[in-house]
C-alpha cells in the first residue's frame, strides 16, 4: 500500500475509525452517544464489507463485553463512547485489565456530570477514566489534540493494547473529535499492524504464564488449539481462582509492572522548547490547541516560552516530561475542567515548579486566558 498523499477536510472521529481499520480492528460493538457516535457509524459502514463485524449492543455494558468476548477469540476489537457510557463500561474495563485482554475504547469527552451537555465539550473525565479500576492500576490513555493525532493515537492504542495485552483508552473531546479540519495525509504515521504476543505451541502453557513480573504472557485465543482458563477473579498464572496466595499477589503486581516497564517507550510528549526557555505551557487535547496559539503570540511579544503537548497521559510520561522540564521553573497548565485533573495526576512530576493552572468549564480555554497566565 502506497503512503497516502494530499489533504483532507475531516474529523477526529473519522480519523479514529480509519486508524482502527488500518490497525487491524475487525470487531466493533457500539451504543450511540454524542459526540462519539460518528465512530460507530463509520465502523458500521465499513467493517462488514471487509469481512469484519460491527454490531449494535443494547447498552454500553454489552458493547464492551462483546468486544472483550471477540478479543478473547483473538480479534482486535474496539468500542467508542462518552462519559455516561463510560460509566457503564467501567466494570467490564476492569475485567479486560484483569484478564489481560486487549481492547481499545475511544472515549470522547463531553460536559458532565451525569448526562450533562451532550453537544458541549470538556476535559472533565481524566480522573474518571484513569481511576476506573479498583486498585487504581495503570493502563495507557492517549490524548489527541488534532484529527491527525486521532489517527496516530488510535494506531498507537491498538499497537500497545495488543503488545501489552491491556485495555487502552483514546481520550479525546468533543472539539477535537467532531470539528472538521485539515489533515495532511503525507504526515500520518504508517500502520505497522498490531501484533499480539502469541503462544507458540508446545507444552507448559499457562493462560497468564509470564516469567518475570514485567513480562507480557503469550496469548492463546479461546477456541484455538491451546485450551485456556480465563478469569476476572484473583488468579494464579494458570488462570485458576486462588486467594491469599503469593503467586496470585505476584500476578496482581505483574499487571502494574508490565505497564511501568514501558513508561519511557510509551510516553509521548510533543515538545517545542526554545533554548533557554524557563517557562513551559503544558497541555493536552483541545486545550493544547489554544496553547499553541498562545505560545506563538507570547514569542512574538518577546517571551521565551516552551510548549509541550502531552499525548500519553498515562502512564504518566515521567521520562519525557523530565526532559521537557529541564531548566523550566514555571509551568502554565490549561485544561478544560474546574479542578485541574491532569495537574493533580502529575503530582510530584511538578514538584519545585511554579504551576499556574488555567481552568474553566463550558467552553474551550482561549489563547488570551493562557497569555494572561504567562504574563
Amino acid at each position: 500500500m502506497n503512503p497516502p498523499t494530499g489533504r483532507l477536510l475531516t474529523t477526529g472521529n473519522a480519523m479514529s475509525a480509519k486508524a482502527a481499520l488500518d490497525a487491524g480492528c475487525r470487531f466493533f460493538a457500539g451504543y450511540p452517544i454524542t459526540p462519539a457516535s460518528q465512530i460507530f457509524g463509520a465502523m458500521t459502514a465499513t467493517l462488514p464489507s471487509m469481512g469484519g463485524l460491527a454490531v449494535s449492543a443494547p447498552d454500553e455494558i454489552s458493547a464492551l463485553a462483546l468486544c472483550i468476548g471477540a478479543s478473547l477469540r483473538g480479534v482486535p476489537s474496539m468500542t467508542a463512547t462518552s462519559g455516561p457510557g463510560w460509566c457503564l463500561m467501567v466494570e467490564c474495563f476492569g475485567y479486560a485489565l484483569m484478564t489481560e485482554t486487549p481492547v481499545v475504547v475511544a472515549v470522547v469527552q463531553r460536559l458532565g456530570p451525569s448526562t450533562g451537555a451532550a453537544t458541549q465539550g470538556a476535559q472533565g473525565d481524566i480522573a474518571l477514566v484513569s481511576g476506573a479500576t479498583s486498585g487504581a492500576y495503570t493502563f495507557p490513555i492517549f490524548a489527541p489534540s488534532t484529527a491527525a493525532e486521532c489517527y496516530a493515537d488510535t494506531l498507537r492504542a491498538f499497537e500497545w493494547a495488543e503488545r501489552l495485552r491491556t485495555p487502552v483508552v483514546v481520550l479525546s473531546d468533543k472539539e477535537v473529535a467532531s470539528t472538521a479540519e485539515v489533515v495532511e495525509l503525507g504526515g500520518l504515521p504508517q500502520a505497522s499492524g498490531a501484533v499480539r504476543t502469541a503462544w507458540g505451541g508446545g507444552e507448559g502453557f499457562r493462560t497468564y504464564g509470564w516469567e518475570q513480573e514485567a513480562d507480557v504472557p503469550p496469548f492463546a485465543p479461546v477456541g484455538g488449539e491451546q485450551v485456556v482458563t480465563v478469569t476476572g477473579s484473583a488468579h494464579d498464572r494458570a488462570g485458576l481462582l486462588k486467594k491469599n496466595d503469593p503467586e496470585t499477589l505476584a500476578n496482581l503486581r505483574h499487571l502494574q509492572a508490565k505497564i511501568d516497564a514501558v513508561e519511557a517507550e510509551i510516553g509521548l510528549v510533543d515538545t517545542d522548547i526554545p533554548e533557554g526557555a524557563d517557562t513551559l505551557v503544558l497541555s493536552y487535547g483541545v486545550s493544547a490547541r489554544a496553547s499553541r496559539d498562545a505560545v506563538a503570540q507570547a514569542r512574538r511579544e518577546g517571551m521565551r516560552v516552551g510548549f509541550a503537548n502531552v499525548r500519553t497521559l498515562f502512564p504518566v510520561p515521567r521520562t519525557a516530561l523530565g526532559h521537557a522540564l529541564r531548566g523550566i521553573d514555571t509551568v502554565v497548565l490549561p485544561e478544560e475542567n474546574h479542578s485541574g485533573q491532569y495537574r493533580q495526576a502529575l503530582g510530584d512530576v511538578l514538584a519545585c515548579i511554579d504551576v499556574r493552572p488555567v481552568n474553566r468549564i463550558g467552553a474551550a480555554i482561549k489563547p488570551s486566558e493562557i497569555l494572561d497566565a504567562l504574563r
Partner: protein
C-alpha cells in the same frame, strides 16, 4: 449418553452437601462428552455465584469465568467472532444462576434476538446462593429469603417466557434431578442458534431450610410457575446469527481507501476569516459551510468547521463556526467573528441567547435575511431577501456566497466546482443560490 467421568475432574465439588449445582455439572459433563467434539471446540463461560465455580471441574475445555450477569454477553462476543471471522466450529455454553439471569437479563434477551450460537443453562435455585440467600428476580411469590423475611411480595419472572418472546429458537425447562437432563442439554448445545435451558434446583443452604423445600415441592413449584416442565420449543426456521450475517454481508473488499482530495490551483488569503453561520436545522446550514471549507482546502488553504446544534438533531437551531486561514488553525473558537450569517430567526435568536451577538464589534459584518428581527443589531446589518429568493434551504449558501464575493475570499467558479463535485447533477439549486448571493455581494 456417555458418563461425565472423562469430562469432569475428579476433584470434590465446591458446593454445599445436596446442592443441585453438582447434578447439573454431571449432566453438563455427560452432554459435552456426548458431542464428540475435540476439547478445544468447547468453551464454558461461567457467571459469578456458587454456580460459577466450575473452572477446576472442567480443566480440559476453554473456560472463561466472567462478571456477574455478563457471562452471556462475553459468550455472545466469542460466538459472533467465531461464527463470522472463523469457521464457527466453537460451541459456547453459559453457566449462570437465577441471580446472574436477573442482573444480566438484557444480555439473554439480546442473545435470543441475535440468535447467536450460545447455549445458556440457567441454574435456578431461586435465590442468590453465594451471597447468603437473598431474593432474585426469579424468587417465587411468598418465599422466605434473607431479604424477604415475611415472604417475597413479587411474582417471579417467567424467564423462559421472556426469552421465547425475544426470539429464542430453543427453550427447555427441566428438573435438576431429571435423568434426562444430560440429553436435553446435549440437544440445546447441538442447536445452531440461541438455546436456553432453565434448570430447577435446590439450594440446600438457604432455599431448602427457609422454605421447607424438597424435591417433590420443587417439582410442584415448577409446575405452578412459568412454562411447562420438559417443554422444548425448537424454531429451526430462523437463521442463526452467523447464517444471517453471512447472508447480509458478503465480503466485498479490502475496506475504505483514503478519499481522493481534489487539488485545484492554489488560492490565497491574506488573513484568517472567522464566520458564524446560524440558521435552522434541516435548512442546509452545515453543508453550506462545508462547501466553503472544502473549496478553501482544495486550494491549499486551511479550514475548520464546528457544528453546534441542540441535542435533538433535526429541529431547532443549527450553527456552524467556520474558519478559513492561510495558516494551520489551532484554537477553533471564534470570540470575535469577522461576519455572522443569520439565515433564520431561530438561528439569530440562538446567537443572541449565547452571547455571540453581544461580542460583535464595528468590524463584524451581519448578513441577515430581511425577514429577521435583529433588534438592536438591525442598524448596519446587510439585509438580503435570502429566503424569498433562494428558499430556506439555500439561504445560508447564498449569504456565504455574498460574503465570499464581498470579502474577496473564494472565487465563484471554485465554489461551483466544489458544489458540483459534492452533489453532482443535484447541485443545480445550490449553484443557483451561490450565484445569486455572489452576484449580490460582488
Amino acid at each position: 449418553m456417555p458418563s461425565a467421568e472423562a469430562m469432569v475432574a475428579p476433584c470434590s465439588m465446591p458446593y454445599c452437601k445436596g446442592c443441585s449445582h453438582g447434578l447439573v455439572v454431571r449432566a453438563l459433563g455427560a452432554a459435552l462428552e456426548a458431542t464428540g467434539l475435540p476439547r478445544e471446540q468447547l468453551c464454558l463461560v461461567s457467571d459469578i455465584g456458587c454456580v460459577g465455580l466450575i473452572d477446576r471441574l472442567f480443566p480440559t475445555v476453554h473456560t472463561v469465568h466472567a462478571l456477574h450477569g455478563r457471562s452471556t454477553a462475553f459468550a455472545s462476543g466469542i460466538a459472533m467472532a467465531d461464527g463470522v471471522l472463523f469457521d464457527g466450529a466453537l460451541k459456547t455454553v453459559v453457566v449462570i444462576g437465577d441471580g446472574g439471569a436477573t442482573i444480566g437479563l438484557l444480555h439473554l434477551v439480546a442473545a435470543a434476538q441475535l440468535n447467536v450460537d450460545v447455549t445458556v443453562i440457567v441454574h435456578n435455585n431461586h435465590l442468590y446462593g453465594m451471597t447468603g440467600g437473598q431474593a432474585s428476580g426469579l424468587t417465587p411469590e411468598d418465599w422466605i429469603t434473607a431479604t424477604t423475611p415475611v415472604g417475597n411480595p413479587l411474582p417471579p419472572l417467567d424467564l423462559v417466557g421472556v426469552l421465547r418472546s425475544s426470539g429464542a429458537t430453543f427453550l427447555a425447562r427441566e428438573m435438576a434431578m431429571n435423568r434426562g437432563l444430560a440429553d436435553r442439554l446435549g440437544e440445546a448445545i447441538a442447536h445452531p442458534g440461541f438455546a436456553v435451558v432453565e434448570v430447577m434446583e435446590l439450594c440446600t443452604a438457604f432455599g431448602v431450610p427457609l422454605n421447607s423445600l424438597n424435591g417433590k415441592k420443587l417439582k410442584l413449584l415448577a409446575e405452578q410457575t412459568g412454562e411447562p416442565l420438559g417443554m422444548r420449543a425448537l424454531d429451526a426456521g430462523r437463521p442463526s446469527f452467523r447464517a444471517a450475517w453471512k447472508d447480509k454481508h458478503p465480503r466485498s473488499g479490502a475496506g475504505p481507501q483514503w478519499p481522493e482530495t481534489p487539488s485545484t490551483g492554489a488560492l490565497s488569503l491574506d488573513r484568517p476569516l472567522r464566520f458564524v453561520v446560524a440558521g435552522t436545522a434541516g435548512e442546509r446550514v452545515q453543508s453550506a459551510a462545508t462547501l466553503l471549507a472544502r473549496t478553501a482546502v482544495a486550494g491549499g488553504l486551511f479550514a475548520t468547521q464546528k457544528k453546534d446544534n441542540p441535542v435533538t438533531q433535526g429541529t431547532g437551531f443549527s450553527v456552524s463556526e467556520l474558519i478559513l486561514s492561510p495558516e494551520p488553525i489551532h484554537y477553533t473558537g471564534i470570540p470575535h467573528p469577522d461576519a455572522v450569517v443569520a439565515a433564520s430567526q431561530v438561528g439569530w435568536d440562538y446567537l443572541v441567547r449565547t452571547g455571540v451577538a453581544a461580542r460583535l464589534d464595528e468590524q463584524s459584518l451581519i448578513v441577515a435575511d430581511e425577514g429577521i428581527d435583529l433588534g438592536a443589531w438591525g442598524e448596519g446589518a446587510v439585509r438580503l431577501p435570502l429566503r424569498a429568493r433562494v428558499r430556506a434551504d439555500g439561504a445560508a449558501l447564498a449569504a456565504l456566497g455574498w460574503l465570499a464575493a464581498r470579502l474577496d475570499v473564494l472565487p465563484l467558479n471554485r465554489l461551483i466546482d466544489t458544489a458540483e463535485r459534492a452533489w453532482g447533477d443535484k447541485a443545480g439549486r445550490s449553484v443557483a443560490a451561490l450565484q445569486w448571493g455572489f452576484e449580490a455581494g460582488g
